[in-house]
């Protein structure tokens, strides 16, 4: 692979500039947003000076703090349940062969395939019709559904990469199934679990459309609150909150990425 670099046979006009353009396209808006969040000027069009004020304004906004707390409650509950379900499903799907396995995979991947707006509509109708009051609980349920495939995929990948002989070796060395799981499978699976849980967590923190539909009054999460703010108008405070959201997500993805690559 290294050989390709610098080999004129592999140089095509326009490829490198397009790539440069794409990376600029991907990151320019993010940098602009972060830069503006430090802009002193309320109008946000001209740069007048550096300030942290908008962050303190945002962090002192009690409605926003409440929304952030809701987001954390939802994300941790949904992550916990989704990760647990994903671990169990992944163990079964990678360690056993049975008919209809493809169908099971398709069901687990369903939340990834169905457009979010459709899921949102269906979930809302379901809750209203069976008579569950919209609130934090409904948001947690909807998020758990959505988070399962995100937790499942890294865990399954880790299990598939694991040598099945290791578990056989443990049972060969007198470990019963439970001890094999606890001493061999779980420690080796841990990075996959952590990585899956973190992805589920960010997804839950970020999911807007579904939340917007199924969050009743009092269950406003951070994205729903930000949406409301954006609709009212562009303010430096929105910039600061958005920049914070970006930083949280980026931190989590980076962590998840690093943990996922851990070899142990």
């Amino acid at each position: 692979m290294l050989k390709r670099r610098g080999n004129p046979l592999w140089r095509f006009p326009g490829v490198a500039p397009t790539a440069a353009f794409v990376f600029a396209y991907l990151y320019l808006p993010i940098f602009i947003l972060i830069a503006f969040s430090f802009n002193e000027n309320r109008l946000a069009t001209i740069w007048t000076g550096f300030t942290f004020d908008w962050y303190s304004v945002a962090l002192n906004n009690s409605d926003m703090i409440r929304a952030a707390r809701n987001s954390l409650i939802v994300a941790s509950s949904a992550t916990f349940i989704a990760t647990l379900a994903a671990i169990m499903a992944a163990l079964c799907m990678t360690r056993e062969r049975f008919r209809r396995q493809q169908a099971v995979n398709a069901v687990i991947a369903l939340p990834l395939i169905v457009p979010e707006i459709v899921t949102a509509v269906a979930t809302l109708l379901f809750f209203v019709i069976i008579g569950i009051r919209l609130g934090l609980l409904t948001v947690i349920i909807a998020h758990t559904v959505f988070c399962i495939p995100f937790a499942y995929l890294p865990i399954r990948a880790r299990l598939q990469g694991m040598d099945p002989r290791l578990e056989e070796a443990a049972s060969d060395l007198y470990a019963d199934p439970w001890r094999t799981f606890r001493r061999i499978t779980l420690p080796l699976l841990w990075p996959g679990i952590l990585s899956g849980a973190m992805l589920a967590f960010i997804i839950s923190l970020d999911t807007f459309v579904i939340t917007y539909f199924v969050a009743g009054a009092g269950a406003t999460t951070l994205p729903v609150y930000i949406f409301g703010m954006i609709r009212i108008g562009i303010t430096p405070e929105v910039n600061a909150v958005s920049a914070l959201m970006l930083l949280i997500s980026i931190t989590f993805v980076t962590l998840s990425f690093l943990v996922g690559r851990m070899r142990r």
Binding site: L166, E168, A169, A170, L173, D176
Partner: protein, 364 residues
Amino acid sequence: MQATSGAAIETQRLTKIFDGPGGEVRALDGVDLIIRENEFFTLLGPSGCGKTTLLRLVAGFEQPTSGELLLEGQPMAHRPPHRRPVNTVFQSYALFPHMSVAENVAFGLEMQRTPRQDIKARVERMLSLVKLSGMGERRPAQLSGGQQQRVALARALANQPKVLLLDEPLSALDLKLRKDMQIELKRLQNETGITFVFVTHDQEEALTMSDRIAVMNEGQVLQVGSPTEIYEHPTSRFVADFIGETNLLSARLSRRDGSRAIFDLDGGGELQGQDDGGHQEGAAVTLAVRPERAELQRDGPGLPARVEQLVYFGTDTHYRLRLGNDPTPFVVRRQNRSGAGGGFAEGEEVRLHIAPDAVRVLQD
């Protein structure tokens, strides 16, 4: 069925059928086998012959479709692996990557709830047995392939199993290391007195190390015997062909002459062999002759042949001969001894002399 005394492992009509995508696959087809205590027993065969499946059934990783498996007389067929007194050395070693070498070796003892003090002593003894003293704190990833191999051995032997199962354990090592480990394994077997069941597709490895060999093909055991028996007296075409090089000749039993049998070769000519009494006069048979057991002479008695090609191998030379109108060449191996002289040239007309005791009559 009755268990045989003195047998470490006994299989009775052991059969394993896998459901493959293309239908059922008979990995093991009614295998009857007795492995004696304290012997170095090898399962030899090409890939897909069922040898690894047999080993995995003994270890308990797979359940037999039918038949019984006895370990020291105890039926085992449906006992889970963690309750069988056997241990396995895996082809890929399967060392636990998140544990140190010492923790790996201690794992089995810990699972059997051996007292901590004893574990420590045993681990040290095992590491010194495989010449890895002082390496206990390292991680498997920090060891060379040969060292990992030794850890895998120590980990299995630490439990003093009745039977040690080895699944092509040397296949990942380079040639030099493999030769060393062959001797090492033999030494360990002698020192521990444990029954070794060794799986390999390498016939040379099997011949050098084993007390007895079972040659397998297509889920069946074709022949069981000592290395000499297997090499010198193959009973089937497959065994003769798989173990070492063999010239196979189609012939017809023409007549008997005392203890001798005279065969008419299909390609023309006559050959004398020992009479095994198993065939009617006039019956079609296959004869096997090892390349080193045939001799070439310039003239005199023997079958007329022509040297088609000679291939130089350093220690010896292989002559590929055309024999009558037989389309397959007949190979003769001659050692290149100094001063022996008398080499033959390509195109030369020669006489092929085969002693009666070098001719094997195959069963099929």
